[in-house]
């Protein structure tokens, strides 16, 4: 390999099937200037140690599968240049706040269930068939939710959010932002169906606005902002419900 510089990666190793304890294994890598952390892990897996388990697909920050803790921070490993961590060592761990399946691979099933809870799709009674044309939106209507729709489900926000470690049942940033993304969509009429999941103590109100989700988000989804918008909407609804006569309350 035509490497230019050397750096050491300390990779988190854990295999629940062999009953062993987790440990860190160091690998020295010669790297090229444009290499990212994921390149180094792939090289190690191909050339030194084929037993490392990690996820990746696109290598370009689109698929969201390569999230890892790099030197303690949640990062897309395909977007983290090795040279930024020189002279090293670089410590690579699975995303925190998730159960580990093996080495750098986390168990995503809890996250997937949370996504399903907020019904992240357009809900309305009058389903248009395509023959009737599209649902039109003005640029302002698109702008209302657009940034929150850029999520790639990389789960870095869950690893960044301190509430996740204190309150494991918390719905979490990405799911709440996605629910809010559909609530803010002018084509959607499904707010009432999302409210139970989103407005409980483990939903919007679990968030204490630390804001770390928006800091670590590689796609500028601003989940913290989406959650605050959700809180304002939920608070308005609370007052509306409060002043409604008893019989009219749902």
């Amino acid at each position: 390999m035509a490497g230019e510089k050397r750096i050491t990666l300390e990779i988190f190793r854990y295999n629940p099937e062999d009953g062993g304890e987790p440990f860190f294994q160091s690998y020295e890598v010669e790297y090229l200037n444009h290499w990212v952390v994921l390149d180094a892990i792939n090289w190690i897996k191909d050339e030194i140690d084929g037993t490392i388990a990690h996820r990746w697909t696109c290598r370009m920050g689109v698929c969201g599968s390569c999230g890892m803790m790099v030197n303690g921070e949640p990062k897309l490993s395909c977007h983290s240049l090795l040279r930024d961590y020189a002279p090293g060592p670089v410590r690579v761990e699975p995303l925190q706040h998730f159960p580990v399946e093996k080495d750098l691979m986390i168990d995503k099933s809890g996250f997937m269930e949370r996504l399903a809870e907020v019904k992240p799709y357009i809900i309305r009674d009058d389903v248009n068939d395509t023959g009737n044309g599209e649902y039109l939106q003005t640029p302002a209507q698109i702008a209302a939710y657009h940034e929150h729709s850029m999520c790639i489900n990389c789960m870095l926000c869950y690893a960044g959010c301190p509430v996740m470690s204190l309150e494991p049942a918390f719905l979490g940033p990405a799911a709440l932002a996605l629910g809010q993304r559909y609530n803010l969509d002018s084509r959607d009429k499904g707010q009432a169906e999302r409210v139970d999941a989103m407005s409980g103590d483990e939903g919007l109100w679990g968030c204490t606005f630390v804001g770390e989700c928006s800091v670590v988000c590689p796609k500028h989804v601003d989940p913290a902002g989406a959650i605050q918008k959700g809180k304002i909407a939920a608070a308005k609804q609370w007052y509306a419900n409060f002043i409604k006569p008893k019989g009219a309350k749902k």
Partner: protein, 116 residues
């Protein structure tokens, strides 16, 4: 819609945060630095003027809102901080103590400001 009363406490917290950010720095500057460091004769004049201003009801209501809602903002933040520090087992007692103190603070602000 919302199933959680957190919406209510949060709205007081949010209102207190907004009003506090707008008015408290100005009030601290005015009453904490500007008045005490002004020329005594001038300060006396300003003081009379301030007291006159506080005699008006719209100003009183604003001041009560700033002080009262700030109490709720602090209570809410302290409550969440205590829970985050690991006292989740005492959630009820913490809520009672924090919001109870805020209600007392807000009532005190009404009584004190109304008497000016």
């Amino acid at each position: 819609m919302s199933r959680s009363n957190e919406a209510f406490w949060w709205s007081l917290f949010a209102a207190g945060g907004v009003l506090g950010a707008l008015f408290i720095p100005v009030l601290v500057l005015l009453t904490g630095f500007w008045l005490p460091t002004a020329d005594p004769v001038e300060a006396a004049e300003h003081y009379t003027h301030l007291v006159e201003l506080l005699g008006r009801w719209p100003v009183k209501i604003l001041l009560i809102a700033v002080i009262g809602l700030s109490c709720f903002m602090c209570a809410h933040r302290i409550r969440h901080t205590l829970m985050d520090l690991g006292l989740r087992g005492h959630a009820r007692a913490i809520s009672l103590a924090c919001y109870g103190a805020a209600i007392l603070g807000a009532l005190a602000s009404v009584l004190l400001v109304a008497r000016i």
